[in-house]
Subunit: 285 residues, 2 copies
């Protein structure tokens, strides 16, 4: 029987702490505020927006929505971002991507002020997570993995950690954050030879492969801690991770479930970034 | 007997190719130009400047030096950088660091236009190497390692590579560049447990530990390729690497010497970035 690393439990603990930090800001006359900028009505975006808004309400962070039609021009979007950048009462900005095809992702990302980039999409944020310094914010999902490991008390110093996946939103940033915590980090991916062996030699395994159930029992070994970043829908229409939970859980020491794992922590991290951005404006962080 | 991976040979080949690309630019009326910005007269800086200037001359790239006294104000330095940014006839800028203590490194780095950042010090360059896209330029020493591996025909896809050292100028960027070439990359550092074992399991070992001779025979295994990034001066006043060459060379398949290895390629990479920056201005790269 392995320990189930509950994202919901982590989210609850983070929420409690954020409620207090938000109150401390309000006591100083600052109301932490998230701007949500969305172009169009993609179902994925709407679903994430609902979750983020609910979490903001719970914590006491204000939300201001800026919604543009799917056929809005890039110029219109850039004007909204400029407005967000200039407004001292907005501390963070969540900009949904991918953008419509007629917009240039890089131009739009560049327009956002790095200090309000709570979702980690600007060059400033990427450079910050790469350098291991507080500049902008790391991508929320990557940090959610770190929050789970921290909540459950894992000391990463000297630990061998294998990260499966090299995306810019999870694999690479989580590798840098693990390195910052003094882990010995191995990054593997679709071109890795004998990935099961590379995974088995780790003490901690972070899986962000983006493919349902790809990590089976052959990838794990006793004593391991497994963090499953994947969110997929299986043939029966049920949510599942990148790890074949039923096969892996009996082997390892601890594992995050899907749902109820990493995904449950992500919006908390986002709101935490808004609170930290607000704290930075008044020298509290 | 292992193969000696000669940095001088790589530098000669890169130089030949750069001479041709520079001529092609000149045929179009563009004279690739490097600005060297130096504050004070540190011996390390002067030595590197001599090497870079010599390499520029060999390739046909022009050099313009901007030298400020060690007690220059930050404002004066920012004015020089602004001048470099604005001058369309300057394509790249080498800014020597560390800066004097009375200057703020981040403020100064931020001032440099990323497209002229041929030494990979701006957030744009760091984000580019982290994301694996052409934005700014990677740090020259990290790329020098890649040039050596490329010149000697090593296909990195699926190879296990261990990088020793996690600095922002070598360890982290070379790890990202190796990943971009589809290697399975392990980053280790001073807090790694049993580093010799982590190194022995690699097929390619890149050593940027910053400590003379720290990688001895216990770190290597037969068949390995070893790239030694270190440049140290030993007790006898001789240049030596981070790898104990005499002990390691008989074990491994191939190794870069010090001197005559990675260090010999670095200025070529720098000048190559100037040429590429010039090419980018006219859509040739």
């Amino acid at each position: 029987m392995s320990t189930i690393l509950s994202g919901k439990e982590v989210a609850a603990a983070l929420t409690d702490a954020l409620v207090q930090r938000t109150q401390a800001l309000k006591d100083r006359g600052i109301s932490p505020t998230l701007a949500i900028v969305r172009v169009g009505e993609r179902e994925d975006d709407l679903s994430y927006e609902r979750g983020a808004t609910k979490r903001c309400e719970k914590i006491g962070v204000a939300v201001r929505s800026f919604v543009l039609p799917a056929n809005a021009s890039q110029e219109e979007l850039l004007q909204v971002i400029d407005q967000v950048n200039r407004d001292p009462e907005i501390h963070g900005c969540l900009l949904f991507r991918p953008l419509p095809k007629h917009m240039d992702d890089e131009t739009v990302r560049r327009a956002l002020a790095p200090e309000k980039d709570v979702d980690g999409i600007t060059d400033g944020s990427l450079a910050g997570v790469f350098a291991g310094v507080k500049r902008g914010f790391p991508p929320c999902t990557a940090q959610a993995c770190m929050e789970i490991l921290a909540h459950y008390g894992y000391d990463l110093t000297g630990k061998r950690v294998t990260v499966v996946g090299r995306s810019l939103v999870v694999g690479k940033p989580v590798a840098m954050m693990l390195l910052q915590k003094n882990a010995t980090v191995t990054l593997c991916h679709t071109r890795t030879v004998d990935m099961p062996a590379v995974c088995r030699e780790a003490e901690i395994l972070v899986v962000a492969a983006g493919k349902a159930g790809v990590v089976d029992a052959s990838y794990v070994s006793p004593g391991q801690v497994v963090v499953d970043v994947g969110i997929n829908v299986n043939a029966e229409g049920k949510l599942c991770g990148d790890v074949a939970f039923d096969a892996v859980e009996p082997v390892v020491d601890a594992i995050t479930p899907v749902p109820g794992g990493v995904g449950s922590v992500t919006t908390c991290v986002l709101v935490g970034h808004v609170v930290e951005a607000a704290e930075r404006t008044c020298g509290m962080a």
